[in-house]
Structure formats: C-alpha cells, structure tokens
C-alpha cells in the first residue's frame, strides 16, 4: 500500500513537472519616477523630469510576454496587443526600448535582438549569468520568493562598458527556470526583477494556453558577441562632449 502511494505520488509530481513545459508568463514594468527640486533645479531639469515621467506612464501600461515551450523561450513585447496608449507621444520609443530575447536551455544560447542603425543578434551563453542566491525571502502576492543577485556586462553612453547589478526574486514553487529579458537559470520562476530604474513583475501565469506558442529563433541580423557589440557603441566623456552634444 505504501509503495503504491509512493508510486502514485511520484507519477503525480512528474506530471506536474512535465505539464509546465509550455506556457506564457505576462510581465509588466514599474518605472522609477524621477524627481526635481522646485526651488533649486533648472527649468531644463524640470522639463526633462516631467517628460520622462510621462513616458513612464506609457511604459508601465505595456504587457511583456515570456512564451516558453520545452527548452526554448522568447521574451518580447507584442505590438499588436499593446495599443492602449499608442496615440501618446513617445509610445514608439518606449515600445522600441524593449528588445526581443531568445533562450535555449539545451544549447545554452541567449540572443538579444537589437534594432538600431542595423539589426544585431547579440549572442551570449546562459552560463554567462552567474547568480548569487541569498537567504533573503519575501512574499510577493501568493508566492514566497528568494532573492538572487548577479552582475552583468552592460554599456551606457555616459559610462562605457560597466558591470550592471541585477536583483531577482524567484519562487521555487514554480519550477520554470526563466524570467524577464534573458535572466533565468534560477531554481524557480523570477517573479520580480530589478534592472536599474525598471522593476519587472509577473502580472499573469498561463500554464495551459489555449493558443499556439510560437518560438522562432531570431535569424535576421548581424550575429555579434556582447563584447564586440559594446565596442561599436560610443562613449561620451567630458573630453569629447562637444563632439556629441554641444559646445
């Protein structure tokens, strides 16, 4: 009887694991609001802050999809469904700021598709992201989550290449080793992820989609490593400021 119970339990557990090989996670973003000092800041600062906060309203209304099937996943913004604030100025820029990310856990491939002057397929490996899992935990909605951090190579106009700090909260009860952008590989789904001034959070989980999950590995564009891609990008310093911005 005991052996029968054990077998049934194992069967049930494995069914759960296998049943979570296809689905869609919907993420949203909370943008950190910028501020200014009314008494001391210049008019240009105030105008800039007001404009950025306006853009943040658009960004915070956009749904981002993480579709996955077996070992592949794709993180993207569906331009056909995100039309709520599409008439607002800046909508296109905000939409374009979300790149498409492809992941294959079998081949360990990560691809970020960036469309700027050209289309770049910036590739890296899943094991390039090394997580530091902490003992810190918190409840996010119905999920008990644990904190993990990592530092990844990034580039900014005003900084050049630097190490960016990422903070993720993952839930081991949801055995999907994925998250927003190409952050994954944790022993549970990333429920919340802080990336500079943006915090991604799970809005909805659909593990029984009644629609087809289509994951196409990006193929059109220039395949390039992260390091080589960053080498193409300019860095503005106090010394070359006039070349890029003004005199």
């Amino acid at each position: 009887m005991k052996i029968k119970t054990c077998c049934l339990f194992l069967l049930f557990t494995s069914f759960i694991c296998f049943s979570q090989t296809k689905g869609r996670i919907v993420y949203r973003v909370v943008s950190q609001k910028l501020t200014y000092d009314k008494d001391n800041d210049t008019g240009s600062r105030q105008a800039f802050v007001n404009l950025m906060n306006e853009m943040s309203k658009i960004r915070d209304s956009i749904a981002l999809y993480l579709d996955f099937e077996d070992q592949e996943s794709i993180f993207y913004v569906d331009r056909n469904t995100n039309i709520g604030l599409s008439n607002n100025t800046g909508y296109q820029s905000v939409i374009k700021s979300f790149n498409l990310y492809y992941r294959n856990n079998n081949s360990k491939v990560l691809i970020e598709k960036i469309i700027s002057d050209n289309t770049y397929l910036v590739n890296s490996k899943t094991y390039d992201i090394e997580w530091d899992i902490t003992n810190e935990k918190k409840r996010i909605g119905n999920y008990i989550c644990f904190k993990a951090t990592t530092n990844v190579l990034a580039h900014k106009l005003t900084k050049g290449i630097y190490k960016k700090h990422i903070e993720a909260w993952f839930c081991p009860d949801i055995s999907i080793s994925l998250g927003p952008k190409n952050y994954g590989g944790l022993p549970g789904l990333i429920i919340e992820l802080k990336d500079e001034k943006l915090t991604y959070y799970v809005k909805a989980i659909n593990l029984k989609p009644d629609f087809q999950i289509m994951i196409d590995r990006p193929s059109k564009g220039k395949l390039i490593s992260k390091e080589d891609y960053f080498a193409l990008k300019p860095t503005i310093t106090r010394e070359n400021f006039k070349e890029y911005i003004g005199d």
Partner: protein
C-alpha cells in the same frame, strides 16, 4: 579758464576710464558665471542621459534628448516639442 577746461576734461577722462573698467569687470564676471553654468550644464546633461538609459532608452534617443537638455540649460530657447521630437 584753461585750467578749468583741463580739469573738466581730466574728470571726464577719469570717469571714462572708471566706466570702462567697470564695464570690463562686469563682462569678465559674466564670462566667469557662464563658464561655471556651462560646466553645471554638462554635468546635468550627463545625469539626464544616464537616467534615460536607466529607464531603457537607447543611445540615439538619450543623445538626442541630451542635446536639447544641454541647449536649454545653456540658455537656448527649447520647447517641449523639441524634446518630444526625439521620441518619435
């Protein structure tokens, strides 16, 4: 009479010299203020561009807004529509 005329002319010359010196000092002070404000504007523009990229905007958009931000900061007439032109 001649002495009086000479005195008046000397006073006028001295007044003219003082006036020129005064105007000169004003100009140099304003140049000094201008160079400080330009430095502040460079820093403020750097901060603005960095904040934009923290919010996910690409180099092109951040650079475009940075241009207008610096222009407005250094006294050029920039409208909100100018900023918004970077976002379309």
């Amino acid at each position: 009479m001649a002495t009086k005329i000479l005195e008046i002319m000397r006073n006028r010359v001295f007044n003219l010299i003082f006036a020129l010196l005064f105007i000169g000092s004003l100009t140099s002070m304003s140049h000094y203020d201008n160079s400080i404000s330009r430095g502040d504007c460079v820093e403020a523009t750097f901060d603005a561009m960095e904040e934009m990229q923290d919010l996910g905007f690409c180099d092109e958009v951040a650079g475009c807004v940075g241009n207008y931000h610096y222009a407005e900061c250094t006294g050029w007439p920039v409208t909100i529509e100018d900023y918004k032109s970077c976002l379309e």
